[in-house]
């Protein structure tokens, strides 16, 4: 026993937890730089490309909320992402609703879907949870394939971007860009806040020791379900936005490969880190568009990155950097 306490160590409770001042300045600097880059990006890079990165980054953040902070690996997140894309596209194209309403509808759909999935899947943990979400999302895939309104393998094409609040023309790619950036920032802020909220604390506790959390009076299933619904809604937000960016909703976004891709992004960037998914998404999207022009077989490269990440690089890029530079 005595062997464990280093008596020289003069730890006191006041320095026990995080040091809010220092931490938040550092966060503020990183976020500030990130924001500057994001604001300038469309003048340097191809705007649609950056928008795609943002959509996937938001998707990955949503996914990360679940795996990184609630310890639940969903292998069916494509259902929310792609499902919302269809709803948004349909609302905008067929019902002629405005972009903001369409996206909200898509998001609402994902939230409901998340509630349904969650109610079924939350009862199991770990691999079981992953398998169940995967199977459920396959169901959504087949429905998307067979239902009339989704347009089968053609998807919903030529979705109008419309006018934001009826005023701002989103066909202008810069307005569209800043709209997407705003959506992303809102989503990101929600994730950030949720993680560092009273709710986030309980979620962590549940991940660590569920029976104990129950014995303290937490109805853990409800917390997990809320986390799931939150994550699904944000994934839907990302999917709906993407549908407007590309003006199309297609089957690609509901396949299980898409669910795998978001796992890869999060893993590569760093699970359970806030910026990790953003970095991961940027890398994967860049890589995919780069590989498209080479003769390298894309799945092999993506698969290899997966394997390398799992074997030697589990903390992901951001996780690795944080470990190196001593941040918790």
């Amino acid at each position: 026993m005595a062997a464990q306490i280093k008596t020289t160590d003069t730890q006191t409770t006041t320095i026990a937890l995080r040091r809010p001042g220092q931490d938040s300045t550092r966060n503020a600097i990183i976020l500030g730089i990130g924001l500057l880059i994001a604001l300038a990006a469309p003048y340097v890079l191809y705007p649609v490309f950056v928008m795609k990165v943002l959509c996937f980054a938001l998707f990955a953040c949503a996914f990360n909320l679940l795996i990184g902070f609630a310890g639940l690996l969903s292998f069916g997140h494509a259902a929310f992402f792609g499902g919302a894309a269809y709803i948004t596209a349909h609302s905008a194209k067929v019902w002629g609703l405005g972009p903001e309403v369409s996206i909200l509808l898509g998001m609402g759909f994902s939230a409901l879907l998340g509630l349904a999935f969650g109610a079924l899947a939350i009862r199991r943990q770990g691999i079981y949870f992953a398998m169940i979400t995967l199977a459920l999302s396959q169901m959504v895939f087949f429905m998307a394939l067979q239902l009339k309104f989704t347009g089968g393998e053609d998807g919903i094409q030529a979705v109008p971007r419309g006018h934001l609040f009826g005023v701002i023309d989103l066909n202008n790619s810069l307005s569209m860009y800043y709209f997407v950036l705003a959506v992303f920032l809102v989503g990101f802020a929600v994730v950030w806040r949720a993680v560092h909220s009273p709710f986030g604390q309980v979620l962590k506790a549940i991940r660590e020791n569920e029976p104990r959390a129950v014995s303290l009076g937490y109805r853990t299933e409800r917390y997990k379900l809320l986390a799931f619904v939150l994550s699904a809604s944000l994934a839907g937000l990302a999917g709906g936005t993407k549908a407007l960016v590309f003006q199309l909703a297609s089957l690609t976004d509901v396949t299980w490969q898409m669910s795998g891709e978001v796992v890869l992004m999060t893993l590569l960037g760093g699970m359970g880190t806030l910026l990790g998914p953003v970095v991961g998404a940027a890398i994967v999207v860049t890589l995919e568009s780069y590989l498209a022009a080479t003769s390298m077989p894309v799945p092999v490269v993506i698969g290899a990155i997966f394997v390398v990440c799992v074997l030697v690089f589990r903390r992901g890029i951001v996780g690795e950097l944080q470990a190196r530079f001593g941040r918790r």
Binding site: M1, A2, A3, Q4
Partner: protein
């Protein structure tokens, strides 16, 4: 040390044992001798390194140096799964009952390594609680029953050196007495037993000698018959 290790054959000789968990150096040169047919206890506070000593013998700590000889064979460097086959049985502190196995399967799991182990009826006689529970899932047994099962399954294997890590933890006094009886019986049958105990009153009723450990060292060895004289010393060691 005031023992005549040469009088009887030394069954287990530990010399200058160092053990590590990753970076942390836990054992700093442990020396222990156990002779054939003896019951030896390791006493010491939480974290003194008792469990680690046992795990070192079984080859399941991260890294170990020094020498551990069992019946003349060096265990350090030997493949892990060969060590028990030499006739060493281990009952871990956390009991290690398998939840995916029934009580019967748990009992029958460790392979018999030597003849002369106890039979199942003999085991039931020793631990009546286990009788009739064969199909229950292992970890559904109560804490104490699990402890009994953990000991019982090693007795079946015929191992002649048995390492018991805190066999009385969480047991009712009456069961502790039973286990004491069992250990004495095993001793009579010629088993050699190394026992980790916090409960030295219990240890005193069954052991021949006591090693006292502190922060990864053996700091003392007290033969059981000199226990009375050394009571004060022991109290300071153990902080009773």
């Amino acid at each position: 040390m005031p023992d005549g290790a040469t009088v009887k054959t030394a069954m287990l000789e530990i010399r200058d044992l160092q053990a590590f968990y990753g970076e942390s150096h836990v054992l700093h040169g442990v020396n222990i001798d156990v002779r054939q047919g003896e019951v030896v206890t390791l006493l010491g506070r939480n974290g003194a390194g008792k469990t680690t000593t046992m795990r070192s013998i079984m080859g399941i700590v991260g890294k170990r140096n020094g020498s551990i000889r069992f019946q003349g064979k060096e265990l350090i460097g030997m493949a892990q799964h060969k060590i028990p086959r030499l006739g060493i049985g281990y009952v871990p502190e956390e009991r290690g009952i398998f939840s995916s196995l029934s009580v019967d399967e748990n009992l029958m799991l460790p392979p018999v390594v030597k003849s002369g182990g106890m039979t199942v009826p003999q085991i039931y006689e020793l631990f009546p609680n286990l009788q009739g529970r064969g199909t229950t899932q292992g970890t559904r047994l109560s804490g104490g029953e699990q402890q009994m099962l953990a000991i019982a399954r090693i007795l079946r294997t015929g191992a002649d050196l048995i390492l018991l890590d805190e066999p009385t933890e969480g047991l009712a006094p009456v069961i502790i007495e039973q286990i004491g009886v069992a250990v004495r019986k095993l001793k009579q049958r010629g088993f050699t037993i190394v026992l980790v105990e916090q409960n030295f009153r219990f240890a005193a009723t069954i052991a021949d000698r006591h090693y006292v450990m502190e922060e990864g060292h053996v700091v003392d060895m007290i033969p059981n018959d000199q226990l009375a004289q050394n009571m004060d010393k022991l109290h300071t060691y153990l902080g009773v």
